[in-house]
Structure formats: structure tokens, C-alpha cells
């Protein structure tokens, strides 16, 4: 039975014209994540969504380890893990031959796998429930139609089933997707590159003998001249992407009989399946020039868009939320200056550029732009069949990795050499401890990992987590007895030392909070 979307009721608001500290526009995966994060920090949040349900159809399915770690911080990591399909392996075929296998999580000792596959609607349903429990004021069927920015607030015009209302927000998070109404209202350019190709996305329900791994074919016998991608999702739903080419007619291609014939050619005559969803997409890569505009922040697809090869859209957006929310919380509490919020641009724009670069390169490999590009692509694939050296050149998508905020102004650079480990800007590595997982032990504020010694008095606002000087945690952080690693509330490394120096730790915390 196809997924039945939940219907969330419209509740007429009793506060027209009210002013709220934080309003989130858009209840997609990114807006819901941000609302949940802020609510768990104790901030009152109003969320407006134009719809009365979750994401419809087949969109994001691959959720990366870093996203799962963020969701775990927000209390829903294990639920997602249980509902999703775990995978670590990707397999690439050219013609009828396998050319490449990759294992994305080669080492044991992590709570979360490299990826789970889970339909976006399941993720959003779980997020909505968590938002409700955390006290987010969720307002469905509330479409933002105009936004006016002032020095210290934003005024929104909202279309509801009961007519138009107005709200004011001290701070506005625009997570209203690729067609962002807030972006339009602000008249901001959203330019980039469109790829001249079309992809057929089909969700099929079947009991299939394939293992749960990512499979990608270039030019397979069952779809000559195009590429095909196969992923397993929850509930025995499988996602298949067929590359169609620019000249394909979307309406013709969506004809269920035609799609069934394509799927049958791929699976063979003996596999029974049902079509659950069909759509045809073109993809683009683009971003806003800046993500912060005074009191307005753009997150997720409203700020940047990528092609889906690499699963960097949703995963990038989750990292936006993770990056912004603790900063906004600190500014609202008065522990950080307004300028901390500028670091959202300084940290997330390079991250978006990295995602755009990676997904552009993948899409250019999958959809060669001219004859020469085609010849090189085919050359890579045929060399890869015979020689291992060419396999790393095969690009079927470079899968989402967490951003390393190496150039962030919030980092305190190392003041002594380190033999590897996690330099400032890197997200914290998980590791098994005697009684659970390292990341589960981090609180909502700053944490100092203290290796091998019992922590002496640490500066105000920092919780100590004592860790053994031997074992996987110490290895991952390249730490020996006496080392200290300071983590920000979003679990990124702010600074590290080979000593416990309360003054240096306090200074690094101040710097990470944006104090000049």
C-alpha cells in the first residue's frame, strides 16, 4: 500500500499581528530540524508551512552519518536508524561489468553507519512528532506571501484558510525550499547552472534479492546509453533513477506502462513489483551570494541547490541548521555578540561551495557536455574495467561528507604540532566508550574532552568529559594523557592543546562565541 501522508490540521491563530522571537518558514526536513534544535535549546519557535503534510513523493533518501549524529543530538537518531535501511557499500557497473566497489565506513566503532536510506516523508513525520514534543508552535496551511525586512525584525504576510494575517519576527529562518518565497520577496538572485538532462525517478515496491547497497550502472544492457541508480528504502520500497537525456519528453516518460517496461527490463521477468511513485526531474546547482541578510537566515534548498548525485542537498541543509541554531541561541541569551551570526556565512558558504563543486563534477561525469567529455568519460570507464588506477576517476556521485570548517574565524589554531587527529573546524569523531558512545555524552553547550587526567577546574560554561588516554577515542583524536579538545555546541572542534590551560580554554571559548 502506498504511503498515506499524515494530514496536519490548520489551527486558526489567536495572535494576528503578534511579534515572535523566532519564526521558521518552511516545514521541510531542514526547517523542522532547525525548529527542533532551537526548541531543545529552550527557545520559543513558530514554524509556518504552506502545506498540511510532509514531503510528497520520492525525494531525499540517503541520510549521511553526520546527519544521523545531528539527529541523535536532537533525540531521534535511534528512531531513524531503526526505521531506515543501513548501507555502507557502493557498487559501480559499466556495461555488464562491475568496475568499482567502495566501502564508506571501513572502520568499526561508530554508532551510526555511513548512510541510511529513508524516504523523506518518514524523516519529516518523525521530525514533526519530535517538534511537537519539544513545544514548537507548528502552523500548517500557512503560506508566507510577502516579507519585509527591518533593522530589528521582519514582517510576514501569511495566507491561511481563514484569510490573510500578519506576524512579526525578531529573527527569521527561511527554509522554504528551492522556490523560497522569502528569497523572492527580498529580490535576491539565485543563479547557477542547470544541467541539460532529465532523470526518471521511480519508487517500486518489491521483495528483491539485491543487498542493501548503492548500485550505479553506466550504460547497462537494460538501459543502453544512460545511467541507472538503485537504492533500497524502508518498507520494501526501492528507488530507481533512469537517466533519460535532455530530449526526453517528461509526460511521455511518466506513462506507467512505459516505466513498468523499463523496470521489468532491469529486474528480469521473474521479479514482481508495483509502482508507487514516478516523477521526472532536471537538476541544477546554484546558491545565494550570502545566507545571512540582517535578521533573515536562509537554510537548505532556499539557500543552495545541488544535483542529487552525492546526496548533498538534504545533508547539507541539516548541517546548516546544526551550524546556525546554537549561535542564534547564544545571541538570544546574551552570551554571544550579534557578530557570531556572521560566522554562519563564513562557515556554511564554503561548505555549500564544496557541495556544489562535488555534485557539479559528478553530474558532468554522468551527463557529458560535449563529444570530448563523452570520449573522456568512456575512456575512464573502459580503463576502469581493466586497471585499478582508473577506478577513482569513475564518478557516480561523491557522497556527502561533513564540512570541515578549516578556515573558520571561530577556530583557535593549534599552538603545538599534532600527529593527526581532528584539527579545529572538524566535526567530533564518535567512538565507543565503556558505557556507550562518545557523542551521546556531549551536552548542549561547550564540552572539553580531557584525556587521561582527572579534569582540573575548567572555565565557566564548559563541561568536562574525562576520557581514557588509551583506546579508540584517544586514537581518533590523536590524544595522549593531558591533552584537551574543546568542542562547540554543534560538536565541531574549536581548539585543542597538549595541556590543561584554563586561560587558553576560556579564550578559545570566547573566540568560538564570536567575541573579537
Amino acid at each position: 500500500m502506498p504511503h498515506q501522508p499524515p494530514r496536519y490540521p490548520f489551527i486558526p491563530p489567536n495572535d494576528p499581528g503578534a511579534r515572535h522571537p523566532i519564526v521558521v518558514v518552511g516545514g521541510g526536513m531542514v526547517g523542522l530540524t532547525a525548529a527542533l534544535d532551537l526548541a531543545r535549546h529552550g527557545q520559543p519557535v513558530v514554524l509556518l508551512d504552506d502545506d498540511d503534510t510532509v514531503s510528497i513523493g520520492s525525494r531525499a533518501i540517503c541520510h549521511a552519518k553526520r546527519s544521523l549524529e545531528i539527529f541523535a543530538r536532537l533525540g531521534i537518531g535511534q528512531r531513524l536508524l531503526a526505521k531506515g535501511v543501513t548501507w555502507n557499500t557502493g557498487r559501480v557497473f559499466a556495461g555488464d561489468r562491475q568496475v568499482f566497489v567502495f566501502d564508506l565506513l571501513a572502520e568499526p566503532g561508530h554508532q551510526f553507519p555511513a548512510f541510511i536510506n529513508l524516504q523523506q516523508y518518514h524523516l519529516e513525520e518523525i521530525l514533526v512528532e519530535a517538534c511537537r514534543e519539544a513545544g514548537v508552535d507548528l502552523r500548517w496551511s500557512s503560506r508566507v506571501v510577502a516579507a519585509q525586512a527591518y533593522r530589528d525584525h521582519v514582517t510576514l504576510a501569511i495566507e491561511t484558510p481563514q484569510g490573510r494575517t500578519t506576524l512579526h519576527a525578531d529573527w527569521l529562518l527561511a527554509a522554504d525550499g528551492a522556490r523560497s518565497a522569502v528569497r523572492e520577496a527580498m529580490g535576491l538572485d539565485f543563479v547557477g547552472k542547470i544541467f541539460r538532462d532529465r532523470f526518471l525517478i521511480a519508487d517500486v515496491v518489491m521483495k528483491a534479492p539485491f543487498p542493501a547497497e548503492r548500485r550505479f550502472w553506466f550504460d547497462p544492457p537494460f538501459h543502453q546509453g544512460g545511467s541507472v541508480l538503485l537504492h533500497r528504502q524502508a518498507d520494501d520500497v526501492w528507488r530507481i533513477d533512469f537517466q533519460l537525456g535532455w530530449d526526453a519528453d517528461p509526460e511521455t516518460e511518466k506513462d506507467p506502462e512505459r516505466v513498468r517496461a523499463r523496470v521489468a527490463a532491469m529486474l528480469g521477468p521473474d521479479v514482481r513489483f508495483e509502482l508507487e511513485w514516478v516523477s521526472v526531474y532536471t537538476f541544477r546547482c546554484r546558491r545565494l551570494e550570502k545566507f545571512r541578510h540582517g535578521r533573515i537566515f536562509f537554510l537548505g534548498d532556499a539557500a543552495h541547490q545541488v544535483s542529487p548525485f552525492g546526496a548533498r542537498g538534504g545533508n547539507g541543509g541539516i548541517q546548516d541548521a546544526d551550524n546556525l541554531c546554537w549561535k542564534l541561541d547564544a545571541v538570544l541569551r546574551g552570551t554571544a555578540p550579534d557578530s557570531l551570526l556572521d560566522s554562519y556565512d563564513a562557515e556554511r558558504i564554503p561548505a555549500a561551495d564544496e557541495n556544489i563543486l562535488a555534485s557539479t563534477r559528478s553530474t558532468d561525469f554522468i551527463t557529458p557536455k560535449n563529444e570530448a567529455a563523452h570520449a573522456y568519460r568512456d575512456a575512464v570507464l573502459s580503463l576502469a574495467r581493466h586497471h585499478a588506477f582508473a577506478r577513482p576517476l569513475v564518478n557516480s556521485g561523491r557522497l556527502s561528507r561533513p564540512a570541515i570548517l578549516a578556515a573558520s574565524p571561530l577556530n583557535t589554531p593549534d599552538d603545538a604540532p599534532w600527529n593527526g587527529g581532528l584539527p579545529p573546524g572538524t566535526p567530533a569523531a564518535d567512538a565507543p566508550l565503556e558505557d556507550g558512545w562518545l557523542l551521546d555524552r556531549l551536552g548542549p553547550g561547550f564540552t572539553a574532552l580531557v584525556f587521561g587526567t582527572s579534569p582540573t577546574a575548567l572555565p565557566e560554561g564548559i563541561t568536562a568529559l574525562p576520557l581514557p588516554a588509551e583506546g579508540q577515542a584517544a586514537t581518533r583524536y590523536a590524544a595522549t594523557a593531558g591533552d584537551v579538545v574543546l568542542l562547540r555546541p554543534d560538536q565541531h572542534v574549536a581548539a585543542r592543546w597538549h595541556r590543561t590551560d584554563p586561560a587558553a580554554i576560556a579564550a578559545a571559548r570566547r573566540r568560538a562565541l564570536g567575541h573579537a
Partner: protein, 64 residues
């Protein structure tokens, strides 16, 4: 960082040129193009350094 070698470096220039011509004998233009692409990728991998490959690309583009 070492630079792209631009002094004459081939032990036997005529033999190398001949080998390239022989490789393309009997190939139609599309097959020739694919062969050249494979050749470039093999040689690029042998060189290894992206900076040197980029220097070669720039020189190739500006020496036409």
C-alpha cells in the same frame, strides 16, 4: 614543486612519434578520440601531480 619538463626529454623522438601514428592506424575519428583520451589518462596517472597536468593543459591550449 617540480615543473613540467619542457626541454627535449624523449630518448628516441622518431620512435615515439611513430608509435603514436601506428596506434591510430585503422581507427575512425571517434575511435581515435577515445584512444587519445585513454592515453592521456594513462599518462596523467603516471605523472600524478594535478599541478603538472594543469601546466600541460595550459600549454597545450596556448600553443595551438
Amino acid at each position: 614543486m617540480p615543473d613540467l619538463t619542457l626541454t627535449a626529454n624523449l630518448e628516441d623522438p622518431d620512435a615515439v612519434f611513430e608509435a603514436l601514428m601506428d596506434a591510430h592506424r585503422d581507427l575512425d575519428p571517434a575511435a581515435s578520440r577515445r584512444l587519445d583520451a585513454r592515453l592521456v589518462l594513462l599518462l596523467a596517472n603516471h605523472i600524478g601531480s594535478a599541478a603538472i597536468v594543469r601546466q600541460a593543459i595550459t600549454l597545450a591550449r596556448t600553443s595551438g
